[in-house]
Amino acid sequence: MSTSPELAGTPSPAELAEKYGLSKSSGRPELSDYLKELWGRRQFIVSYARARVYAAYAGARLGALWQVLTPLLNAAVYYLVFGLMLNAARNIENYTAFLISGIFVFTFTQRSVMEGTRSISANMSLIRTLHFPRATLPFAYVMNELSQLGISMGILAILVAVTEGVSWSWLLVFPALLLQTMFNIGLTLVCARLGAFYGDIAQVMPFVLRTWLYVSGVFFSIPAALADKPGWITQLIALNPAAAYIDIVRRAMLSSHDTHELPNAWWIAVAWALIALIGGFVYFWRAEDRYGRG
Protein backbone atom coordinates (compact mmCIF):
# COMPACT_ATOMS: atom_id res chain seq x y z
CA MET A 1 0.00 0.00 0.00
CA SER A 2 1.50 3.32 -1.01
CA THR A 3 0.98 6.76 0.44
CA SER A 4 2.19 9.85 -1.35
CA PRO A 5 4.94 11.64 0.57
CA GLU A 6 3.05 14.80 1.45
CA LEU A 7 0.21 12.80 2.96
CA ALA A 8 2.26 10.30 4.93
CA GLY A 9 0.16 10.90 8.02
CA THR A 10 -3.22 10.40 6.28
CA PRO A 11 -4.06 6.82 5.47
CA SER A 12 -6.22 6.02 2.46
CA PRO A 13 -9.78 4.87 3.13
CA ALA A 14 -8.89 1.26 2.44
CA GLU A 15 -5.94 1.39 4.84
CA LEU A 16 -8.07 3.04 7.48
CA ALA A 17 -10.68 0.36 7.02
CA GLU A 18 -8.14 -2.37 7.42
CA LYS A 19 -6.58 -0.76 10.47
CA TYR A 20 -9.86 -0.66 12.36
CA GLY A 21 -11.10 -3.99 11.10
CA LEU A 22 -13.92 -2.67 8.97
CA SER A 23 -15.24 -4.94 6.27
CA LYS A 24 -17.13 -4.27 3.05
CA SER A 25 -20.78 -3.81 3.81
CA SER A 26 -22.00 -5.52 0.65
CA GLY A 27 -19.26 -8.12 0.61
CA ARG A 28 -19.94 -11.78 0.25
CA PRO A 29 -19.31 -13.87 3.37
CA GLU A 30 -17.30 -17.07 3.27
CA LEU A 31 -19.31 -20.13 2.29
CA SER A 32 -19.07 -21.65 5.76
CA ASP A 33 -20.22 -18.40 7.39
CA TYR A 34 -22.96 -18.15 4.83
CA LEU A 35 -24.26 -21.58 5.71
CA LYS A 36 -24.14 -20.71 9.39
CA GLU A 37 -26.10 -17.53 8.77
CA LEU A 38 -28.62 -19.51 6.77
CA TRP A 39 -29.04 -22.00 9.60
CA GLY A 40 -29.47 -19.11 12.01
CA ARG A 41 -32.35 -17.88 9.87
CA ARG A 42 -34.24 -21.15 9.84
CA GLN A 43 -37.16 -19.83 11.88
CA PHE A 44 -37.54 -16.97 9.47
CA ILE A 45 -37.56 -19.41 6.57
CA VAL A 46 -40.30 -21.50 8.15
CA SER A 47 -42.29 -18.47 9.23
CA TYR A 48 -42.04 -16.79 5.85
CA ALA A 49 -42.99 -19.99 4.00
CA ARG A 50 -46.03 -20.48 6.22
CA ALA A 51 -47.02 -16.86 5.84
CA ARG A 52 -46.96 -17.17 2.07
CA VAL A 53 -49.17 -20.26 2.13
CA TYR A 54 -51.60 -18.45 4.39
CA ALA A 55 -51.60 -15.37 2.20
CA ALA A 56 -52.04 -17.39 -0.98
CA TYR A 57 -55.31 -18.89 0.21
CA ALA A 58 -56.51 -15.88 2.18
CA GLY A 59 -58.96 -14.71 -0.44
CA ALA A 60 -60.40 -18.11 -1.31
CA ARG A 61 -63.59 -19.19 0.38
CA LEU A 62 -62.44 -22.75 0.83
CA GLY A 63 -59.11 -21.45 2.06
CA ALA A 64 -56.41 -24.02 2.73
CA LEU A 65 -58.69 -26.79 1.48
CA TRP A 66 -57.35 -25.92 -1.94
CA GLN A 67 -54.02 -27.36 -0.91
CA VAL A 68 -55.73 -30.71 -1.14
CA LEU A 69 -58.16 -29.97 -3.96
CA THR A 70 -55.64 -28.60 -6.44
CA PRO A 71 -53.53 -31.73 -6.76
CA LEU A 72 -56.66 -33.89 -6.82
CA LEU A 73 -58.20 -31.89 -9.62
CA ASN A 74 -54.95 -32.04 -11.57
CA ALA A 75 -54.88 -35.79 -11.15
CA ALA A 76 -58.50 -36.11 -12.30
CA VAL A 77 -57.85 -34.20 -15.51
CA TYR A 78 -54.76 -36.23 -16.39
CA TYR A 79 -56.60 -39.46 -15.63
CA LEU A 80 -59.37 -38.47 -17.97
CA VAL A 81 -57.04 -37.58 -20.81
CA PHE A 82 -54.28 -40.13 -20.49
CA GLY A 83 -55.98 -42.91 -18.61
CA LEU A 84 -59.28 -43.09 -20.43
CA MET A 85 -59.01 -41.20 -23.67
CA LEU A 86 -55.51 -42.10 -24.78
CA ASN A 87 -55.46 -45.41 -22.98
CA ALA A 88 -51.92 -45.13 -21.74
CA ALA A 89 -53.08 -47.31 -18.89
CA ARG A 90 -52.74 -50.62 -20.76
CA ASN A 91 -50.57 -53.12 -18.96
CA ILE A 92 -50.03 -50.86 -15.97
CA GLU A 93 -51.66 -52.25 -12.86
CA ASN A 94 -53.32 -49.68 -10.63
CA TYR A 95 -52.90 -46.90 -13.17
CA THR A 96 -54.61 -44.39 -10.88
CA ALA A 97 -51.96 -44.65 -8.20
CA PHE A 98 -49.21 -44.81 -10.84
CA LEU A 99 -50.43 -41.58 -12.40
CA ILE A 100 -51.10 -39.70 -9.19
CA SER A 101 -47.75 -40.53 -7.63
CA GLY A 102 -46.05 -39.28 -10.78
CA ILE A 103 -48.00 -36.04 -10.81
CA PHE A 104 -47.48 -35.22 -7.16
CA VAL A 105 -43.76 -35.86 -7.26
CA PHE A 106 -43.27 -33.91 -10.48
CA THR A 107 -45.39 -31.01 -9.24
CA PHE A 108 -43.07 -30.65 -6.27
CA THR A 109 -40.11 -30.05 -8.53
CA GLN A 110 -42.06 -28.07 -11.10
CA ARG A 111 -43.54 -25.57 -8.67
CA SER A 112 -40.31 -25.20 -6.70
CA VAL A 113 -38.46 -24.28 -9.86
CA MET A 114 -41.18 -22.02 -11.23
CA GLU A 115 -41.59 -20.06 -8.00
CA GLY A 116 -37.87 -20.11 -7.28
CA THR A 117 -37.00 -18.51 -10.60
CA ARG A 118 -38.95 -15.46 -9.55
CA SER A 119 -38.00 -15.60 -5.88
CA ILE A 120 -35.29 -12.97 -6.03
CA SER A 121 -36.79 -10.61 -8.58
CA ALA A 122 -40.20 -10.66 -6.88
CA ASN A 123 -38.75 -9.80 -3.47
CA MET A 124 -36.52 -6.88 -4.47
CA SER A 125 -37.99 -4.52 -1.91
CA LEU A 126 -37.30 -7.02 0.86
CA ILE A 127 -33.77 -7.57 -0.38
CA ARG A 128 -33.08 -3.85 -0.53
CA THR A 129 -34.25 -3.10 3.00
CA LEU A 130 -33.09 -6.02 5.09
CA HIS A 131 -29.90 -7.90 5.37
CA PHE A 132 -30.18 -11.68 5.35
CA PRO A 133 -28.62 -14.52 3.38
CA ARG A 134 -30.53 -14.35 0.10
CA ALA A 135 -30.67 -18.14 -0.22
CA THR A 136 -33.37 -17.87 2.43
CA LEU A 137 -35.91 -16.99 -0.23
CA PRO A 138 -35.54 -19.95 -2.62
CA PHE A 139 -35.29 -22.14 0.46
CA ALA A 140 -38.58 -20.85 1.79
CA TYR A 141 -40.32 -21.55 -1.51
CA VAL A 142 -39.03 -25.12 -1.62
CA MET A 143 -40.13 -25.68 1.99
CA ASN A 144 -43.53 -24.35 1.04
CA GLU A 145 -43.85 -26.87 -1.77
CA LEU A 146 -42.57 -29.65 0.47
CA SER A 147 -45.36 -29.03 2.93
CA GLN A 148 -47.82 -29.09 0.05
CA LEU A 149 -46.31 -32.39 -1.07
CA GLY A 150 -46.77 -33.78 2.42
CA ILE A 151 -50.49 -33.27 2.09
CA SER A 152 -50.55 -34.78 -1.40
CA MET A 153 -48.62 -37.79 -0.14
CA GLY A 154 -51.25 -38.27 2.51
CA ILE A 155 -53.90 -38.51 -0.17
CA LEU A 156 -51.79 -40.93 -2.18
CA ALA A 157 -51.24 -43.06 0.90
CA ILE A 158 -54.96 -43.37 1.44
CA LEU A 159 -55.50 -44.28 -2.19
CA VAL A 160 -52.84 -46.99 -2.21
CA ALA A 161 -53.94 -48.34 1.16
CA VAL A 162 -57.42 -48.82 -0.26
CA THR A 163 -56.33 -50.37 -3.54
CA GLU A 164 -53.26 -52.35 -2.54
CA GLY A 165 -52.76 -52.25 1.19
CA VAL A 166 -50.09 -50.84 3.47
CA SER A 167 -46.55 -52.12 3.23
CA TRP A 168 -43.18 -51.68 4.97
CA SER A 169 -41.65 -50.44 1.74
CA TRP A 170 -43.61 -47.25 2.26
CA LEU A 171 -40.87 -46.15 4.66
CA LEU A 172 -38.59 -45.75 1.67
CA VAL A 173 -40.66 -42.73 0.70
CA PHE A 174 -38.87 -40.68 3.35
CA PRO A 175 -35.34 -41.03 1.96
CA ALA A 176 -36.78 -40.69 -1.54
CA LEU A 177 -38.38 -37.37 -0.74
CA LEU A 178 -35.32 -36.23 1.15
CA LEU A 179 -33.23 -36.79 -1.95
CA GLN A 180 -35.76 -35.00 -4.09
CA THR A 181 -35.82 -32.05 -1.68
CA MET A 182 -32.05 -31.78 -1.87
CA PHE A 183 -32.25 -31.83 -5.65
CA ASN A 184 -35.01 -29.23 -5.71
CA ILE A 185 -33.14 -26.88 -3.41
CA GLY A 186 -30.06 -27.03 -5.62
CA LEU A 187 -31.97 -26.60 -8.86
CA THR A 188 -34.10 -23.79 -7.43
CA LEU A 189 -31.00 -21.93 -6.27
CA VAL A 190 -29.55 -22.10 -9.78
CA CYS A 191 -32.80 -20.92 -11.34
CA ALA A 192 -33.18 -18.16 -8.74
CA ARG A 193 -29.80 -16.72 -9.64
CA LEU A 194 -30.53 -16.97 -13.36
CA GLY A 195 -33.98 -15.46 -12.88
CA ALA A 196 -32.55 -12.60 -10.83
CA PHE A 197 -30.26 -11.40 -13.59
CA TYR A 198 -32.00 -12.54 -16.78
CA GLY A 199 -35.66 -11.65 -16.68
CA ASP A 200 -36.47 -13.67 -19.79
CA ILE A 201 -35.79 -16.94 -18.01
CA ALA A 202 -39.06 -16.62 -16.13
CA GLN A 203 -40.88 -16.51 -19.47
CA VAL A 204 -39.12 -19.57 -20.86
CA MET A 205 -39.48 -21.68 -17.71
CA PRO A 206 -43.08 -22.82 -18.20
CA PHE A 207 -42.17 -24.37 -21.58
CA VAL A 208 -39.04 -26.04 -20.29
CA LEU A 209 -41.01 -27.50 -17.40
CA ARG A 210 -43.83 -28.71 -19.62
CA THR A 211 -41.43 -30.50 -21.93
CA TRP A 212 -39.73 -32.02 -18.93
CA LEU A 213 -43.10 -33.21 -17.69
CA TYR A 214 -43.75 -35.18 -20.85
CA VAL A 215 -40.44 -37.02 -20.85
CA SER A 216 -40.48 -38.04 -17.21
CA GLY A 217 -42.79 -41.00 -17.41
CA VAL A 218 -45.60 -39.40 -15.45
CA PHE A 219 -48.45 -40.61 -17.65
CA PHE A 220 -46.87 -43.64 -19.24
CA SER A 221 -44.32 -46.26 -18.39
CA ILE A 222 -40.97 -45.49 -19.96
CA PRO A 223 -39.72 -49.07 -20.22
CA ALA A 224 -43.03 -50.16 -21.73
CA ALA A 225 -42.97 -47.36 -24.29
CA LEU A 226 -39.37 -48.12 -25.30
CA ALA A 227 -39.74 -51.91 -25.18
CA ASP A 228 -38.84 -52.39 -28.82
CA LYS A 229 -35.94 -49.91 -28.85
CA PRO A 230 -32.29 -50.64 -27.97
CA GLY A 231 -31.66 -50.85 -24.23
CA TRP A 232 -29.29 -47.90 -24.07
CA ILE A 233 -32.07 -45.47 -24.96
CA THR A 234 -33.94 -46.48 -21.82
CA GLN A 235 -30.74 -46.13 -19.82
CA LEU A 236 -30.27 -42.64 -21.21
CA ILE A 237 -33.79 -41.50 -20.48
CA ALA A 238 -33.48 -42.97 -16.99
CA LEU A 239 -30.80 -40.36 -16.24
CA ASN A 240 -33.55 -37.74 -16.11
CA PRO A 241 -33.64 -36.74 -12.42
CA ALA A 242 -37.39 -36.21 -12.33
CA ALA A 243 -37.96 -39.67 -13.76
CA ALA A 244 -35.63 -41.10 -11.13
CA TYR A 245 -37.45 -39.47 -8.22
CA ILE A 246 -40.83 -40.47 -9.52
CA ASP A 247 -39.57 -43.99 -9.96
CA ILE A 248 -38.18 -44.41 -6.46
CA VAL A 249 -41.39 -43.10 -4.92
CA ARG A 250 -43.39 -45.52 -7.04
CA ARG A 251 -41.09 -48.37 -6.05
CA ALA A 252 -41.72 -47.51 -2.43
CA MET A 253 -45.46 -47.10 -2.60
CA LEU A 254 -46.66 -49.45 -5.33
CA SER A 255 -46.06 -53.17 -5.02
CA SER A 256 -47.08 -53.59 -8.64
CA HIS A 257 -44.34 -51.33 -10.01
CA ASP A 258 -41.66 -54.00 -10.52
CA THR A 259 -42.29 -54.53 -14.21
CA HIS A 260 -42.03 -50.85 -15.00
CA GLU A 261 -39.00 -49.92 -12.94
CA LEU A 262 -36.35 -47.71 -14.42
CA PRO A 263 -32.78 -49.01 -14.22
CA ASN A 264 -30.47 -47.64 -11.47
CA ALA A 265 -33.07 -45.19 -10.19
CA TRP A 266 -31.74 -44.97 -6.62
CA TRP A 267 -28.15 -44.35 -7.72
CA ILE A 268 -29.24 -41.68 -10.16
CA ALA A 269 -31.40 -40.08 -7.47
CA VAL A 270 -28.53 -39.86 -5.00
CA ALA A 271 -26.07 -38.56 -7.57
CA TRP A 272 -28.39 -35.81 -8.78
CA ALA A 273 -29.24 -34.78 -5.23
CA LEU A 274 -25.59 -34.27 -4.33
CA ILE A 275 -24.59 -32.59 -7.57
CA ALA A 276 -27.55 -30.23 -7.52
CA LEU A 277 -27.33 -29.29 -3.86
CA ILE A 278 -23.61 -28.61 -3.72
CA GLY A 279 -23.34 -27.09 -7.19
CA GLY A 280 -26.49 -25.01 -6.75
CA PHE A 281 -25.40 -23.61 -3.40
CA VAL A 282 -21.99 -22.57 -4.58
CA TYR A 283 -23.40 -21.09 -7.77
CA PHE A 284 -25.99 -19.04 -5.86
CA TRP A 285 -23.60 -17.93 -3.13
CA ARG A 286 -21.06 -16.60 -5.61
CA ALA A 287 -23.44 -13.84 -6.65
CA GLU A 288 -24.63 -13.03 -3.11
CA ASP A 289 -23.21 -9.52 -3.14
CA ARG A 290 -24.98 -8.62 -6.37
CA TYR A 291 -28.62 -9.48 -5.74
CA GLY A 292 -29.61 -5.99 -4.64
CA ARG A 293 -28.78 -4.49 -7.98
CA GLY A 294 -31.78 -3.85 -10.18
Binding site: S12, P13, S47, Y48, A55, L126, H131
Partner: protein
Protein backbone atom coordinates in the same frame (compact mmCIF):
# COMPACT_ATOMS: atom_id res chain seq x y z
CA UNK B 1 -12.52 -0.64 -7.88
CA UNK B 2 -10.14 1.80 -6.28
CA UNK B 3 -8.83 -0.16 -3.35
CA UNK B 4 -5.78 1.94 -2.56
CA UNK B 5 -6.24 5.62 -3.08
CA UNK B 6 -3.13 7.63 -2.26
CA UNK B 7 -4.73 10.84 -3.56
CA UNK B 8 -6.40 13.22 -1.17
CA UNK B 9 -9.65 11.91 0.16
CA UNK B 10 -11.98 14.88 0.47
CA UNK B 11 -13.77 13.38 3.43
CA UNK B 12 -10.62 13.30 5.48
CA UNK B 13 -10.02 17.03 5.18
CA UNK B 14 -13.44 18.64 4.93
CA UNK B 15 -14.40 22.12 5.96
CA UNK B 16 -15.26 21.55 9.56
CA UNK B 17 -15.24 17.87 10.48
CA UNK B 18 -12.64 17.13 13.12
CA UNK B 19 -9.88 15.21 11.40
CA UNK B 20 -9.97 12.14 13.55
CA UNK B 21 -7.56 10.00 11.55
CA UNK B 22 -5.78 8.11 14.23
CA UNK B 23 -2.09 8.85 14.44
CA UNK B 24 -1.02 7.11 17.62
CA UNK B 25 2.28 8.90 17.89
CA UNK B 26 0.64 12.27 18.48
CA UNK B 27 -2.51 12.11 20.62
CA UNK B 28 -3.56 15.58 21.71
CA UNK B 29 -7.15 14.37 22.27
CA UNK B 30 -7.80 12.01 25.11
CA UNK B 31 -10.25 9.91 23.09
CA UNK B 32 -9.24 8.34 19.78
CA UNK B 33 -11.96 8.60 17.19
CA UNK B 34 -12.88 5.21 15.86
CA UNK B 35 -14.27 5.10 12.34
CA UNK B 36 -17.33 2.92 11.94
CA UNK B 37 -18.32 3.65 8.34
CA UNK B 38 -15.97 4.49 5.48
CA UNK B 39 -17.33 5.18 2.02
CA UNK B 40 -14.68 5.36 -0.67
CA UNK B 41 -15.55 6.97 -4.02
CA UNK B 42 -18.89 5.24 -4.16
CA UNK B 43 -20.78 5.32 -7.45
CA UNK B 44 -24.22 3.83 -7.76
CA UNK B 45 -25.94 3.41 -11.09
CA UNK B 46 -29.51 2.28 -11.62
CA UNK B 47 -30.56 0.67 -14.86
CA UNK B 48 -34.13 1.63 -15.55
CA UNK B 49 -36.62 1.04 -18.32
CA UNK B 50 -37.93 4.44 -19.32
CA UNK B 51 -41.51 4.94 -20.38
CA UNK B 52 -41.96 5.96 -23.99
CA UNK B 53 -39.40 5.43 -26.69
CA UNK B 54 -40.83 3.75 -29.71
CA UNK B 55 -43.60 1.24 -30.05
CA UNK B 56 -43.60 -1.58 -27.58
CA UNK B 57 -44.83 -4.14 -30.06
CA UNK B 58 -43.39 -7.51 -30.89
CA UNK B 59 -42.61 -6.38 -34.44
CA UNK B 60 -40.44 -3.49 -33.26
CA UNK B 61 -38.68 -5.75 -30.77
CA UNK B 62 -37.92 -8.22 -33.53
CA UNK B 63 -36.55 -5.55 -35.84
CA UNK B 64 -34.34 -4.26 -33.03
CA UNK B 65 -33.05 -7.75 -32.47
CA UNK B 66 -32.26 -8.19 -36.14
CA UNK B 67 -30.47 -4.86 -36.31
CA UNK B 68 -28.68 -5.65 -33.02
CA UNK B 69 -29.78 -2.54 -31.20
CA UNK B 70 -29.98 -2.12 -27.45
CA UNK B 71 -33.41 -1.36 -26.05
CA UNK B 72 -33.79 2.38 -26.53
CA UNK B 73 -35.71 2.67 -23.32
CA UNK B 74 -32.93 1.29 -21.12
CA UNK B 75 -31.36 4.18 -19.30
CA UNK B 76 -28.69 4.45 -16.68
CA UNK B 77 -29.39 6.73 -13.76
CA UNK B 78 -26.22 7.78 -12.00
CA UNK B 79 -27.69 8.14 -8.55
CA UNK B 80 -24.54 8.56 -6.48
CA UNK B 81 -21.39 10.05 -7.93
CA UNK B 82 -18.11 9.46 -6.20
CA UNK B 83 -19.11 10.07 -2.58
CA UNK B 84 -16.51 9.53 0.12
CA UNK B 85 -17.39 9.76 3.80
CA UNK B 86 -15.77 8.69 7.04
CA UNK B 87 -18.14 8.37 10.00
CA UNK B 88 -16.97 7.81 13.58
CA UNK B 89 -18.43 6.19 16.65
CA UNK B 90 -20.70 8.66 18.36
CA UNK B 91 -21.59 10.57 15.21
CA UNK B 92 -25.15 11.34 14.32
CA UNK B 93 -25.07 12.40 10.69
CA UNK B 94 -27.95 14.00 8.85
CA UNK B 95 -28.16 13.54 5.08
CA UNK B 96 -29.88 16.47 3.47
CA UNK B 97 -30.51 17.53 -0.08
CA UNK B 98 -33.23 17.96 -2.60
CA UNK B 99 -35.50 15.15 -3.66
CA UNK B 100 -33.67 12.76 -5.91
CA UNK B 101 -30.21 13.80 -4.78
CA UNK B 102 -29.28 10.24 -3.89
CA UNK B 103 -29.69 10.30 -0.10
CA UNK B 104 -31.78 7.14 0.25
CA UNK B 105 -29.67 5.38 -2.34
CA UNK B 106 -26.49 6.22 -0.45
CA UNK B 107 -28.08 4.98 2.73
CA UNK B 108 -28.92 1.66 1.12
CA UNK B 109 -25.38 1.35 -0.14
CA UNK B 110 -24.01 1.98 3.36
CA UNK B 111 -26.34 -0.72 4.64
CA UNK B 112 -24.80 -3.11 2.15
CA UNK B 113 -28.13 -3.69 0.45
CA UNK B 114 -27.32 -2.00 -2.82
CA UNK B 115 -23.94 -2.91 -4.27
CA UNK B 116 -21.97 0.06 -5.63
CA UNK B 117 -21.05 0.13 -9.31
CA UNK B 118 -17.57 1.21 -8.27
CA UNK B 119 -15.90 2.23 -5.05
CA UNK B 120 -16.53 0.51 -1.73
CA UNK B 121 -18.25 0.95 1.57
CA UNK B 122 -16.51 -0.43 4.66
CA UNK B 123 -18.38 -0.82 7.95
CA UNK B 124 -17.70 -2.32 11.33
CA UNK B 125 -20.44 -4.81 11.96
CA UNK B 126 -23.74 -4.85 10.21
CA UNK B 127 -25.57 -1.55 9.64
CA UNK B 128 -29.32 -1.83 9.68
CA UNK B 129 -32.00 0.25 8.06
CA UNK B 130 -34.77 1.14 10.43
CA UNK B 131 -37.84 -0.07 8.68
CA UNK B 132 -39.25 -3.49 8.14
CA UNK B 133 -42.17 -2.70 5.85
CA UNK B 134 -41.12 -4.99 3.06
CA UNK B 135 -41.26 -8.10 5.21
CA UNK B 136 -44.80 -7.62 6.41
CA UNK B 137 -47.78 -9.12 4.65
CA UNK B 138 -51.15 -7.44 4.50
CA UNK B 139 -53.13 -10.66 4.78
CA UNK B 140 -51.51 -11.73 8.00
CA UNK B 141 -52.72 -10.73 11.43
CA UNK B 142 -50.82 -8.10 13.37
CA UNK B 143 -49.30 -10.59 15.77
CA UNK B 144 -48.01 -12.86 13.02
CA UNK B 145 -46.52 -9.83 11.33
CA UNK B 146 -44.75 -8.83 14.53
CA UNK B 147 -43.16 -12.26 14.69
CA UNK B 148 -42.33 -12.28 10.99
CA UNK B 149 -40.88 -8.79 11.04
CA UNK B 150 -38.73 -9.49 14.06
CA UNK B 151 -37.46 -12.73 12.58
CA UNK B 152 -36.67 -10.89 9.36
CA UNK B 153 -34.56 -8.44 11.34
CA UNK B 154 -32.61 -11.31 12.81
CA UNK B 155 -34.05 -11.58 16.30
CA UNK B 156 -34.24 -15.01 17.93
CA UNK B 157 -37.58 -16.48 19.04
CA UNK B 158 -36.66 -15.91 22.70
CA UNK B 159 -35.94 -12.24 22.07
CA UNK B 160 -39.23 -11.93 20.23
CA UNK B 161 -41.10 -13.46 23.13
CA UNK B 162 -39.56 -10.91 25.49
CA UNK B 163 -40.19 -7.92 23.29
CA UNK B 164 -43.61 -8.82 21.96
CA UNK B 165 -45.72 -7.06 24.59
CA UNK B 166 -43.51 -4.01 24.49
CA UNK B 167 -43.90 -3.71 20.73
CA UNK B 168 -47.67 -4.06 20.76
CA UNK B 169 -47.99 -1.56 23.61
CA UNK B 170 -45.77 0.97 21.92
CA UNK B 171 -47.82 0.77 18.75
CA UNK B 172 -51.06 1.01 20.70
CA UNK B 173 -52.85 -1.62 18.64
CA UNK B 174 -53.78 -4.05 21.40
CA UNK B 175 -57.39 -4.65 20.42
CA UNK B 176 -56.59 -5.10 16.74
CA UNK B 177 -53.56 -7.31 17.01
CA UNK B 178 -55.42 -10.43 15.91
CA UNK B 179 -56.93 -8.79 12.83
CA UNK B 180 -55.24 -8.83 9.41
CA UNK B 181 -53.07 -5.81 8.75
CA UNK B 182 -55.04 -4.91 5.68
CA UNK B 183 -57.82 -3.80 8.03
CA UNK B 184 -55.64 -1.35 9.91
CA UNK B 185 -55.83 2.36 9.33
CA UNK B 186 -52.70 3.82 7.74
CA UNK B 187 -51.74 5.36 11.07
CA UNK B 188 -52.03 2.08 12.94
CA UNK B 189 -50.06 0.26 10.29
CA UNK B 190 -47.31 2.91 10.35
CA UNK B 191 -47.14 2.75 14.15
CA UNK B 192 -46.90 -1.02 14.18
CA UNK B 193 -44.22 -1.00 11.49
CA UNK B 194 -42.20 1.54 13.41
CA UNK B 195 -42.65 -0.38 16.66
CA UNK B 196 -41.38 -3.57 15.05
CA UNK B 197 -38.50 -1.84 13.32
CA UNK B 198 -37.30 -0.14 16.48
CA UNK B 199 -37.47 -3.28 18.60
CA UNK B 200 -33.83 -4.12 18.36
CA UNK B 201 -30.70 -2.14 18.97
CA UNK B 202 -28.26 -1.50 16.19
CA UNK B 203 -24.58 -0.72 16.07
CA UNK B 204 -24.92 1.42 13.00
CA UNK B 205 -28.41 2.79 12.61
CA UNK B 206 -29.73 4.12 9.31
CA UNK B 207 -33.01 5.99 9.34
CA UNK B 208 -34.78 7.05 6.20
CA UNK B 209 -37.22 9.89 6.86
CA UNK B 210 -40.98 9.42 7.15
CA UNK B 211 -40.68 9.53 10.91
CA UNK B 212 -42.98 12.48 11.04
CA UNK B 213 -46.09 10.47 10.19
CA UNK B 214 -48.84 9.86 12.63
CA UNK B 215 -50.54 12.07 15.16
CA UNK B 216 -48.69 14.42 17.47
CA UNK B 217 -48.67 11.93 20.33
CA UNK B 218 -47.03 9.26 18.23
CA UNK B 219 -44.54 11.70 16.76
CA UNK B 220 -43.37 12.60 20.24
CA UNK B 221 -43.08 8.92 21.18
CA UNK B 222 -41.18 8.04 18.03
CA UNK B 223 -38.78 10.93 18.31
CA UNK B 224 -37.98 9.92 21.86
CA UNK B 225 -37.50 6.32 20.71
CA UNK B 226 -35.11 7.48 17.99
CA UNK B 227 -33.12 9.40 20.58
CA UNK B 228 -32.91 6.27 22.74
CA UNK B 229 -31.79 4.16 19.81
CA UNK B 230 -29.31 6.83 18.93
CA UNK B 231 -27.80 6.77 22.38
CA UNK B 232 -27.50 3.00 22.29
CA UNK B 233 -26.13 2.88 18.78
CA UNK B 234 -22.59 3.72 17.87
CA UNK B 235 -23.36 5.72 14.76
CA UNK B 236 -26.55 7.06 13.24
CA UNK B 237 -27.34 8.24 9.73
CA UNK B 238 -30.57 10.12 9.32
CA UNK B 239 -32.15 11.11 6.02
CA UNK B 240 -34.63 13.85 6.58
CA UNK B 241 -36.31 16.77 4.93
CA UNK B 242 -37.21 18.19 8.29
CA UNK B 243 -34.19 20.40 8.89
CA UNK B 244 -34.96 21.18 12.51
CA UNK B 245 -34.85 17.47 13.29
CA UNK B 246 -31.41 17.41 11.72
CA UNK B 247 -30.10 20.36 13.72
CA UNK B 248 -31.66 19.02 16.89
CA UNK B 249 -30.51 15.45 16.77
CA UNK B 250 -27.38 15.43 14.61
CA UNK B 251 -23.87 16.67 15.28
CA UNK B 252 -22.83 16.50 11.64
CA UNK B 253 -24.59 16.91 8.33
CA UNK B 254 -23.84 15.98 4.75
CA UNK B 255 -25.37 17.80 1.82
CA UNK B 256 -25.87 15.76 -1.34
CA UNK B 257 -26.65 17.48 -4.60
CA UNK B 258 -27.53 15.40 -7.67
CA UNK B 259 -25.54 12.50 -6.32
CA UNK B 260 -22.38 14.41 -5.43
CA UNK B 261 -21.18 15.39 -1.99
CA UNK B 262 -21.54 19.13 -1.77
CA UNK B 263 -20.71 19.80 1.87
CA UNK B 264 -19.79 17.80 4.94
CA UNK B 265 -19.49 19.47 8.31
CA UNK B 266 -21.16 20.70 11.48
CA UNK B 267 -24.91 20.21 11.35
CA UNK B 268 -25.89 23.84 11.85
CA UNK B 269 -23.39 25.14 9.29
CA UNK B 270 -24.42 22.74 6.55
CA UNK B 271 -28.13 23.22 7.16
CA UNK B 272 -27.73 26.98 7.02
CA UNK B 273 -25.76 26.77 3.79
CA UNK B 274 -28.38 24.45 2.30
CA UNK B 275 -31.22 26.74 3.32
CA UNK B 276 -29.45 29.77 1.90
CA UNK B 277 -28.90 28.01 -1.40
CA UNK B 278 -32.44 26.64 -1.64
CA UNK B 279 -34.19 29.88 -0.82
CA UNK B 280 -31.88 31.95 -2.98
CA UNK B 281 -32.84 30.18 -6.20
CA UNK B 282 -36.51 31.02 -5.96
Amino acid sequence: MAETNPAVNPADTPAATPAGTAAPETAPEAVEKVPTVIADEVHIVYKVMAGSGGKGTAASALSRLVRRQERPTLREVHAVRGVSITAYKGDAIGLIGRNGSGKSTLLKAIAGLLPPASGSVYTSGRPSLLGVNAALMQDLTGDRNVVLGCLAMGMTPEEIEQKYDEIVDFAGVDEFIDLPMRTYSSGMAARLRFAIGSARTHDILLIDEALATGDADFRAKSEKKIKDLRDEAGTVFLVSHSLDVVTDTCNRAIWLDKGSLKMDGEAKEVVDAYLTESTRKK
